[in-house]
């Protein structure tokens, strides 16, 4: 689907067009925020399947309620609130979808068995630390270090003071870095403080 010349449009303009049923405008909003929505959903659910459900359904809910978005320029923050609430509901109701597991071998770069083991252990450790983080820290570190949102963007879009964003990011990174550092130990299983 071509988005034509809409890519330069602001969120507000895309929202206004999507309200009129413009599929390209809505598609562009999805494209802009699909990763962030997934990251936020993942920060709540901690599971790929639920994060996928939460993010996808949130876009549909957002479209249905688009007229309630009082400030279209703040669409991202409004959407993330929907994603967060939707994902919490998913967790609360334990709506788990049966899906085919995605084979790790589908990756374009096939690592050696040793490297695969190392990456797997690292991922497990990282997953554990990520799960132990407060949800807001998980959300911020994923939006910042995974999606590349800047402090001010996160603060603006999530309605959190910029200093608080930096603070959360600092603690989240500190914990996650310890997991990354642990993988370089000889036994590869250093406990995470």
């Amino acid at each position: 689907m071509s988005s034509g010349g809409l890519t330069a449009y602001s969120d507000g303009e895309l929202v206004r067009r999507a309200r009129l049923g413009d599929e390209r405008a809505f598609g562009l909003l999805v494209q802009r925020y699909e990763r962030a929505a997934y990251a936020v959903a993942y920060s709540v659910t901690g599971r790929h399947e639920d994060a996928e459900d939460g993010a996808q359904e949130s876009f549909l809910v957002a479209l249905e309620r688009l007229d309630d978005c009082r400030n279209p320029e703040k669409f991202a923050g409004w959407l993330m609130t929907i994603v967060r609430n939707r994902s919490r509901n998913l967790v609360r109701r334990e709506v788990l979808r049966e899906t085919e597991p995605i084979p790790v071998a589908a990756s374009s770069k096939t690592p050696t068995p040793e490297r695969e083991t190392e990456l797997s252990e690292l991922s497990e450790q990282l997953q554990e630390v990520l799960e132990d983080l407060p949800q807001v820290q998980r959300e911020i570190v994923l939006l910042h270090d995974l999606e590349g949102w800047k402090h001010r963007e996160i603060a603006d879009r999530l309605g959190i003071p910029s200093g608080t964003v930096r603070s959360h990011l600092h603690f989240a990174r500190k914990a996650l870095r310890s997991a990354l550092g642990g993988s370089s130990d000889e036994d590869g299983m250093r406990s995470i403080s």
Binding site: M1, A18, R19, L20, G21, D22, E23, F26, G27, V30, Q31, E34, R35, Y38, A39, Y42, H48, E52, A55, Q56, F59, L60, L63, E64, I102, P103, V104, A106, S107, S108, L119, L122, S123, L126, Q127, L130, P134, Q137, V141, L142, H144, D145, L146, G148, K150, H151, P161, G163, T164, R166, S167, H168, L169, H170, F171, R173, A175, L176, R177, L180
Partner: protein, 137 residues
């Protein structure tokens, strides 16, 4: 872990993402690391599911701009034309002519009646005799 506190931005914060951490998080979290077409399918699913709602919104817009105006015009335009014609007729009809106006009940009751039907007793007799009734057989 202690609670969040306000910190001054560090150099690494201002420089942006921690690339090593970003890469590790990407491997862990980003579905596209395992499936290159993941986001295309994600988007396709969302847009396919949203098609009905988008179509409904387009219909509402069409209804607002087109059908509603047409529907209104169907009722309003003939009414407006009829009203303007009636107004024009009234305007060009000219001033109304003089009309007889009844000024009292008696005049109203006797208006248009022939004089013969008045009681004969009211007529003056030729011989000055009082006649209460004049009956003719």
């Amino acid at each position: 872990m202690s609670g969040p506190e306000e910190l001054e931005p560090t150099a690494s914060d201002e420089l942006g993402r921690d690339m090593e951490l970003s890469s590790a998080l990407g491997r862990l979290v980003d579905p596209a690391t395992r499936d290159a077409n993941y986001w295309l399918r994600f988007r396709a699913w969302v847009l396919e599911s949203a098609a009905r709602e988008l179509a409904r919104r387009r219909r509402v817009v069409d209804l607002t701009v087109g059908d509603v105006l047409t529907a209104w015009s169907r009722a309003l335009v003939p009414t407006a034309i009829a009203a303007s014609l009636a107004a024009a007729l009234l305007l060009f009809q000219g001033p109304p002519g003089p009309t007889d106006v009844a000024i009292g009940l008696e005049e109203l009751l006797s208006e248009g009646l022939e004089e013969e039907i008045f009681p004969a007793a009211l007529e003056a007799a030729e011989d000055d005799a009082v006649t209460f009734a004049m009956e003719r057989f």
